[in-house]
Amino acid sequence: MKPGYVRRFSPVERLLHWANAAGFFFLLVTGLILYLPRLSMLVSRRQTIQGIHFWGGVGWLATLAVVIVLGGRRLLATARELDTFDRDDLRWLRGRGAPQGRFNAGQKINAILTAAFTILFGVSGLLLWFGEQDTRYRFASTVILHDGLMYVSLLLLVGHLYLALIHPATRHALRGMTLGSVSSEWASRHHAKWRPE
C-alpha cells in the first residue's frame, strides 16, 4: 500500500459490492425492456428477455450467496459494523455532525436497505415468475412491490452515484471500493472514529 494510505475495504467486501452492482445493472436493463413499452417494442422478444431477466436474477442471488459464504467470518464482522448504531450515528443522522466509524450512519442504512431490497426483489421476482404458471402464487400486489423496489432502488442508486462519483468531498471514497485503500488524511476527516488495522 502507498504510504499515507490505509485499507478501507477487503477484497471480499469489494467483490460483494461489485457482484451486486453488476447484477443490479444487468437486471435494471433487462427489466426496463420488459417494463417500458418503447423498449419492449424495439426488442419485441418478451419471452426471451423475460427468461434472461429471470435467470439473471437467479444468477445474481446465487453469486451473492457464494460470495457471502466465501467471505464467512470476515463479512460477518462487516455485518456487525453495519448493524451497530451508537449515539454519534444517531446525531449524524439528525444532521448534527458527529465523528463516524469506518461506515457512517448513512452508509449503514444504505447497505441495510440494499440487503433487504435484495431479498424482496428475489421474493417478488419468484412470485411473478411462478404466478404466471399457477394462481396459488399470484398476488394482486406482487407487481407493485417489484416495481416499487425498482423505483426506490433507483433513487438510492442516484444518491449513491452522486456521492461516489461527483460530490468533491466524498468521491475519494470510490478509491476505497476499487483499489481498497483511501488516504489516511481523508479517513481521519470523514471517519474520525475508525482505527484502520
Partner: protein, 236 residues
C-alpha cells in the same frame, strides 16, 4: 477534557438497530403483497389529478407490453384482412378501410391486467363487435367466438353471451390515435369486464364455433371466464 475513546463510552452504548431496520423493511415488503395494491389505488386516487396531468409524459403510461412469440406482428394495410368465418351464413373478409367504414363508436374504459396493473380511462375508438358479426350472419348453432391473433399461436374465446356485453368492441384507435403496434395494431378486442389476456391483440380472424375452448393463457392455467376481480384466484 478527555480524548474521545475509540470504542463506545458509557454514554454512547451502541445499539443493534441495523437488524431492526433490515427485518422491518423485509417484513413491510412481504406484507405489502396483501396491502400494496389497495394502498397504491388509494394513493393514485388522491393524486390522480396530478397523475393524469403527467401521465402523457411518463414513458409507460401504466402499460406493459406482453407478447408470447419472438416477433411482434407487423400490420400491412395492403395485405391485412379481418376474416369472419366458422359457423356463419356468409364468410366475410374485411380490409382495413372496410373496417373503418363501419359505424364508429367510442368508449372510455379501464384496462385490468391479471398480473395486477391497471390503466384507467383508456379512450378506445372502433366498432361494436355485433356490427362486424352481423355482416357474416352467425348460425344459431354457434355459441362462442374464437379470436385469432396475428401473433401465432395466440387465440382466445368468448361465449356469444359474453361477447354481447354492451361495451365489447373491436378497437382500432386508442387515446385518439390509430392503435399503436404494441397495443395490437391494426385492431384488438376490448372487453373491459375481463382481464387483458382476453382482449386479443393483432386480430386477424373471428370464427363462430359451437362452444368456447381454451385460449393461449387458459392452456397455461388461467381461467376461461376471466371476470375482473372474480377469477384467477381473486375475489371469492
Amino acid at each position: 477534557m478527555t480524548e474521545p475513546l475509540p470504542g463506545p463510552g458509557p454514554d454512547q452504548e451502541p445499539r443493534r438497530y441495523g437488524r431492526g431496520i433490515f427485518l422491518a423493511t423485509v417484513a413491510g415488503g412481504i406484507s405489502s403483497l396483501y396491502w400494496g395494491k389497495a394502498a397504491w389505488d388509494h394513493v393514485t386516487g388522491v393524486i390522480s389529478p396530478v397523475a393524469n396531468a403527467i401521465a402523457p409524459i411518463l414513458p409507460s403510461g401504466g402499460w406493459r407490453i406482453y407478447t408470447i412469440s419472438g416477433h411482434m406482428p407487423v400490420f400491412d394495410p395492403s395485405s391485412w384482412r379481418l376474416k369472419i368465418g366458422g359457423l356463419v351464413e356468409q364468410p366475410v373478409s374485411l380490409t382495413y378501410d372496410e373496417l373503418l367504414a363501419l359505424p364508429h363508436v367510442e368508449q372510455v374504459s379501464t384496462f385490468h391486467c391479471v398480473t395486477g396493473w391497471t390503466v384507467d380511462h383508456v379512450h378506445w375508438g372502433g366498432v361494436r363487435l355485433g356490427d362486424v358479426l352481423a355482416r357474416a350472419r352467425p348460425q344459431a348453432s354457434g355459441h362462442a367466438l374464437r379470436f385469432v391473433s396475428m401473433e401465432v399461436p395466440y387465440v382466445d374465446y368468448l361465449t356469444t353471451r359474453q361477447a354481447s356485453l354492451h361495451d365489447v368492441m373491436l378497437a382500432y384507435e386508442m387515446d385518439g390515435k390509430p392503435l399503436p403496434r404494441e397495443h395490437g395494431a391494426p385492431v384488438r378486442l376490448i372487453i373491459p369486464e375481463m382481464y387483458g389476456y382476453k382482449n386479443v391483440k393483432w386480430l386477424q380472424g373471428i370464427d363462430v364455433v359451437p362452444r368456447a375452448g381454451s385460449g393461449y393463457w387458459e392452456n397455461l392455467g388461467y381461467d376461461r371466464d376471466a371476470w375482473v376481480g372474480r377469477s384467477n384466484g381473486y375475489g371469492a
